[in-house]
């Protein structure tokens, strides 16, 4: 485990290593967040619809 | 309408006859109908020649440079031209409803599909093969390589029709189906391109081309056995069974 002060420099390969990890993180996050948001939107829409229906009946 | 009546009559006749008769009825019907719309026959060939022409214009007329990539150009142009013809396989029959009747009939679904694919190959593949042989000299393809090119096309164009038919069946009646078909077909036929072009290149160098031709033959056999099944199921799905 070589962890000197130049850990972030990755032996000169900093750009390549960190952009690989960063890109992976971004893609994984997008894939996590986009269905979360769209599901929330869908549920909200359905809730709204069911409320409308209720008031219609009344 | 006339087309529909022609089809209906022949179809009613076909219902009471052997598979072979059914196959040939569909085949000749499709060829007959295809022959009537000449622009659909000729346009892909014109497109093919135009693509071929663009390369000398883009690269320059040097014989050596063109000869080196001639096989690649011819094959890429042939693949593009043939993927443009795919839309015609099922479109008109889908639009006038006759395809639905064919698929709904309890008889020999795979044969029907096979006949349509064979008709497509005869109408688009065969003219393309002839065209390629005429286009070869434009790119200074040497004569002994032309023979290999011919063999790769004879083995390759049926594969294009078979795989194209899958894409055509899946995208029937879809908006901008032509583009979508190309997107679906092109990744699937990349092995075909690799083997064919490398066979022609080997022929130019005077090397053996048996390996590539065997591979092409194997892919053709595989496509012949599996593609009709895929096309038939795709048609059933797209027509809502």
């Amino acid at each position: 485990m070589e962890q000197s002060g130049n850990f972030f420099q990755m032996g000169g390969y900093a750009f390549y290593v960190w952009s690989s990890y960063g890109l992976t993180l971004i893609v994984l996050l997008i894939n996590y967040l986009s269905p979360k948001f769209s599901e929330k939107k869908l549920i909200a829409e359905l809730v709204k619809r069911s409320k409308l229906k209720k008031t219609d009946i009344k | 309408m006339a087309r529909y009546r022609y089809f209906k009559d022949s179809f009613v006749k076909a219902m009471s006859v052997t598979p072979l008769k059914l196959f040939s009825t569909i085949l000749f019907r499709d060829i007959f109908l295809g022959m009537r719309s000449q622009s659909e026959l000729v346009n892909p060939l014109v497109f093919f020649i135009m693509v071929i022409t663009m390369f000398p214009l883009a690269i320059g007329p040097e014989q050596a440079a063109l000869m080196q990539i001639s096989a690649a150009i011819v094959w890429v142009a042939a693949v593009l031209a043939s993927s443009l013809t795919i839309d015609g396989i099922f479109r008109s029959d889908y639009e006038d409803g006759s395809l639905e009747q064919m698929i709904l009939s309890p008889h020999f679904g795979y044969l029907l599909v096979g006949a349509k694919i064979l008709a497509h190959w005869i109408l688009s593949g065969v003219p393309l093969v002839i065209m390629v042989l005429l286009a070869g000299p434009l790119l200074y393809l040497p004569e002994h390589a032309l023979k290999t090119l011919f063999f790769t096309l004879i083995l390759g164009t049926p594969i294009l029709s078979l795989i194209g038919a899958i894409a055509g069946a899946l995208t029937m009646g879809v908006r901008s189906s032509g583009m979508l078909q190309a997107l679906l077909i092109l990744p699937l036929i990349m092995p075909l391109l690799i083997f064919s072009v490398s066979a022609v290149n080997n022929a130019m160098k005077g090397l053996s081309v048996d390996g590539e031709l065997y591979f092409l033959g194997a892919i053709l056999v595989l496509a012949l056995t599996l593609a009709p099944i895929a096309v038939y199921s795709a048609l059933k799905i797209r027509l809502g069974e």
Partner: protein, 248 residues
């Protein structure tokens, strides 16, 4: 056993199952990611040839594995949907496509980021990268077909055919590309080859691969749940569900 499977193939039970499973899968993936990244960046020794740049394999190789694995899942789920006509398997097949495409993209992008210091160029027509690129095209074709067909169930079943054709084709593509590559490049060895791997390097890799798998499982279930709710929005169980939400 069969009863159990058919039970969870019903949309409502699937919804309940997903609700119960995803927290476990999600947290499992998160913990493994932390462990894996720690192992990848600190624990694993630098490669003697490639130095620190080899640490890219910890995201590159699992992405490449996932890209192929997800295509298989997509085709298998699609095939199951064709045979048993279950909505859940259709939803899983459809939800897999964007995830698979993202992993394929990641494999390509990180491969390129690795290739730059190793080969000196961003892109080399190396057999593995080329196959991966064609796989990306297959995914994109599938996604394009999905968005072109309006009826989602028809789209899923048409997609299943396409995915199955793709599965038959993948080995052919793979070998043809490999063959093409040796033909044109001669014996130059691809430097992306995993170096004869040391056990300390292997453990983080396996942890990362497992993390990617759990992540995929959680994400595909969430996406499929969304799709199921949308398709079933007029059914009684979704209405009841919504009424519960309104009551809260």
């Amino acid at each position: 056993m069969w009863k159990w499977i058919t039970k969870f193939a019903s949309p409502m039970h699937f919804y309940l199952l997903v609700n119960r499973l995803t927290p476990w899968l999600g947290w499992g993936a998160a913990i493994l990611f932390v462990a894996g990244v720690y192992g990848a960046l600190f624990y694993a020794p630098a490669d003697y040839q490639q130095g620190e740049s080899f640490r890219i394999i910890y995201v590159h190789v699992p992405s490449a594995w996932m890209s192929m694995f997800i295509y298989m899942v997509m085709a298998a789920a699609g095939g199951a949907g064709l045979i048993w006509k279950t909505k859940v398997s259709d939803a899983i097949a459809r939800s897999s496509a964007p995830l698979g495409a993202s992993f394929t993209f990641l494999a390509l992008a990180t491969g390129s980021l690795w290739g730059k210091p190793m080969w000196g160029t961003w892109w080399v027509w190396d057999a593995r990268l080329t196959s991966e690129l064609i796989l990306l095209f297959l995914y994109l074709g599938y996604i394009a077909l999905q968005s072109a067909i309006d009826d989602k169930r028809t789209a899923a079943r048409a997609g299943a055919i396409l995915a199955l054709v793709g599965v038959v084709n993948i080995p052919i593509i793979h070998y043809s590309v490999e063959w093409w590559n040796t033909l044109h490049q001669g014996p130059t060895i691809t430097k992306l080859d995993t170096p004869s791997i040391h056990i300390d390097m292997l453990i983080p890799l396996l942890i990362m691969a497992l993390a990617f798998n759990l992540y995929y499982a959680a994400m595909v279930l969430i996406r499929a749940r969304h799709e199921i709710i949308e398709q079933e929005k007029n059914s009684k169980w979704v209405q009841d569900l919504i009424i519960d939400k309104v009551a809260v």
